[in-house]
């Protein structure tokens, strides 16, 4: 190995241009990470303001219009700028070529354009802040047609972001088809890649529908097309059909990569093969396919017909089963393992627990009669946050810690990271569990004002967000201060390919494309049970 080749991807070139014009998938992944990190923090600040507003009924720190803008910003930034592109674009970019044994994605330049498009979309989105929309992240018509706020810019921003998402998805799918190293058969593919494949499938096939929907919404505002405006003979329920045709699969765009991350981390820290590899891999694909069939469960009280409600309810329960299978498979991976409670493992275990709560509360919402009561209440808010934070964000944090040595070539302080984890875990439950109770009691969501009897629960919830905030700051501060010394190539004795190279990897990942000869999670000794 020559001196030159040892130069890792972080050191290979300095300055703005070397990053902004790079086609190195690792650098692009890192840039995504920074970008989504910034938007995550901005959107989180909006959520802290929202929660602070609810310390008392009536106006506390902002007025009703500002509140409406804040929840729209919080929702739309978290969804379109952080969580949809989030894990897939950042860790997906960084990891997929490393995991499948390739030197880059198949269209490196397109990958860079996708990132630029992401930035362009985000910029347009930010321009909209001059007169921010107050429609909620769902942009329901006809309110979004009539409101004076700047809906056009924000939806156009989302449209551009969608384009970025599609191109990233295409890139990943083709990469995984064409660039797997010799011997990297589909049944040896790491589960993160399986999850990323399913995610990309959804990005490619669901996003264009929301794209045209948002274009038509812009057309509604410019030309008065009338498709979604009852005053012109249009049907607002149709907008919801189109919107959820994308946005339900989008929920899986958000959660699948986190499932993939947990599937990577569990075997490493339990020193055992993942339990039911095939079941998890196929469940990812099954979820991706069935998720196109359940969008109507967001619309049980929207005026959708009874027959269609019933059909969607049935299929919704069908998608619950593969999810349940995954949870039990992760759980059984621990059985008879040799478990090390690293920070990444703690986040993964918390993921399993919180995601289970998120999934189980979905059972309430899928039941027609119960959903009539619970729809558009805080119950839905809590359910969604258990899936999105307890699921995706915990998975994301797990990944941040797990691949930290590989990404940055340094180690971090595990003890402080664990304290941060405990704070975030406790804070999260304090913040969101009370919202289930508020929901069953009938507290509607998107309410600036609320009845005094809900105050104590609201206050508890707000305190919870403060605990999360402290934990998050601690986590970030800890990660920003790596320990001295270089990280070893494979600190966890992991068997997957990304750990087979230096930390951080060189610019071209592999000096020679490796040949894969074993299953990916080949941990443990082959002794029959009970032998």
């Amino acid at each position: 190995m020559s001196e030159e080749q040892e130069k890792n991807y972080l050191d290979n070139g300095e300055g703005f241009r070397s990053w902004f014009f790079t086609v190195d998938h690792k650098r692009i992944g890192v840039m995504y990470l920074w970008a989504i990190g910034v938007f995550f923090i901005v959107a989180a600040i909006a959520s802290f303001l929202l929660r602070a507003e609810h310390l008392t009924p009536g106006p506390t720190i902002v007025n009703a219009d500002t509140y409406n803008v804040l929840f729209t910003l919080h929702g739309s930034m978290m969804v379109f700028l952080f969580i949809v592109p989030g894990v897939a674009a950042s860790f997906g970019n960084f990891l997929i070529p490393l995991m499948i044994g390739a030197k880059d994605v198949i269209f490196p330049k397109l990958n860079l354009y996708s990132f630029w498009l992401y930035l362009a979309g985000a910029l347009i989105f930010m321009l909209a802040l001059a007169a921010p929309a107050d429609t909620g992240w769902t942009f329901y018509t006809p309110y979004s047609i009539e409101t004076g706020a700047n809906v056009i810019l924000i939806t156009f921003g989302v449209f551009v972001l969608g384009f970025s998402s599609i191109l990233t998805g295409i890139n990943f799918i083709v990469t995984m088809h064409k660039l797997r190293a010799p011997g990297m058969t589909w049944d040896r593919l790491p589960l993160f890649c399986w999850a990323a494949y399913a995610t990309s499938l959804l990005q490619v096939l669901a996003t264009p529908v929301v794209g045209i929907t948002l274009l038509l919404l812009i057309g509604e505002r410019y030309f008065g097309l009338g498709f979604f405006d009852p005053a012109k003979g249009g049907d607002p329920v149709m907008f919801q059909h189109f919107f959820w045709f994308y946005s339900h699969p989008a929920v899986y765009i958000m959660i699948l990569p986190a499932m993939g991350i947990v599937s990577e981390i569990m075997p490493v820290f339990a020193r055992k093969p993942i339990f039911g590899y095939k079941a998890i891999a196929y469940a990812s694909l099954a979820i991706a396919l069935i998720s196109f069939l359940v969008w109507g469960h967001h619309m049980f009280v929207s005026g959708q017909s009874k027959l269609v409600n019933i059909i969607f309810s049935v299929i919704t329960y069908a998608v619950a089963v593969p999810t349940a299978i995954k949870v039990f498979n992760w759980l059984w991976t621990l059985y008879k393992g040799s478990i090390e409670l690293s920070t990444a493992m703690l986040y993964s275990l918390a993921f399993i627990f919180l995601f289970t709560i998120g999934g189980l509360t979905g059972l309430f919402l899928g039941a027609l009669a119960a959903d009539v009561h619970l729809h558009d209440t805080y119950f839905v808010v809590a359910h969604m946050h258990y899936v999105m934070i307890g699921g995706t964000v915990f998975g994301f944090f797990a990944a941040l810690h797990f691949w930290y040595p590989k990404m940055w070539g340094r180690m971090f302080d595990e003890f402080k990271a664990k304290i941060a984890f405990v704070l975030i875990f406790i804070g999260f439950n304090v913040a969101f569990f009370p919202q289930f109770i508020m929901g069953t009691l009938g507290m509607p969501r998107r309410y600036f004002n609320y009845a005094p009897e809900f105050q104590s629960l609201h206050v508890v919830s707000t305190y919870g967000t403060w605990i999360i905030g402290i934990g998050f700051i601690l986590m970030l501060w800890n990660l920003m201060r790596p320990l001295p010394g270089k990280a070893p190539a494979n600190p966890y004795n992991s068997l997957s390919l990304e750990w087979s190279m230096d930390s951080p990897p060189g610019t071209f990942n592999f000096d020679d494309i490796p040949t894969v000869t074993e299953p990916v999670y080949n941990y443990g000794t082959k002794i029959e049970e009970g032998a």
Binding site: K306, A324, Y335, G337, A369, D376, T377, I437, T440, Y450
Partner: protein, 313 residues
Amino acid sequence: MKWLPESASTFAPGVDLILWLVTIISVISCVLIAFLLIYFVIKYRRKTENDQTPAITHDSFLETLWTVIPTILCIVIFIYGYVYYDQYTVTPKNAVEVNVTAKQWLWSFDYSNGKKTLNELYVPVDQPIRLVMQSDDVLHSFFVPAFRVKQDVMGNRYTYINFTATKEGVYDLYCTEYCGTAHSDMLGKVHVLSKAKFASWQDGSADKVKKASAASIPPAELGKQLYSNKGCLACHSIDGANGVGPSWKGLFAKNRVFTDGASAIADENYIKESILYPGEKMVEGYGPVMPSYKGLLDDDEITAIIEYIKTLK
């Protein structure tokens, strides 16, 4: 701890049954998973760096088990959800219809005998009711937690809710589809009356009694009550804050400039005209969104509101 609202309709017990059923399933599954997680983590914690672990990759029996059991539970929950939903969506033959119109940000109710109320729905107990709902503008949603019923309301198309109240009392009504600035103030009450009380409300004798009691309180006091009961508060503040409509604070005797350039002093007659014909003289900077209160407020009540505005200096 109380986690369900009062149960006051024939639909509520069914919904509560499902909520209880799924809660029990959820708690059991959650405790099971949490227990196993913690138990495994303690029992199989890493003792040495060279721990031997078995390479278990699958187990057909277990995998079948945790595929079949969730499937069965899902089917059961679906069936419960479907059965009660089916009951809820079928209108009983003897249902009494009430027309509901939602608009930013109030509810108005039209009864078959020609009566009209704002934000207050009056229904007799044990009588099937069918609400025929439509919106004048954006989406709204009619939600009464105590009845466990909810339905979106939209323009140019009627949507329906069926319910039969089982308990006398006053229940909260919320709008649960986001509809703009005063979404969270688009509230109402559902008054469930005994058959006798409902009859007397219907023929107006209750109004007279109410009037009599109203007469005994000072007009400004009555105006204050009307301010919150009739939905004025959704758009007009009393602290000077600018809302959808002009604030009432310091409104009286103020010079108003209209969109057509004309102006007038906000005296008693102007305010009365604005309440009855809100579209006639639009103050600059506001849109024509206020509904007419003609037939919804009588002269005494309008006078009371004017008196109340006078007190807001």
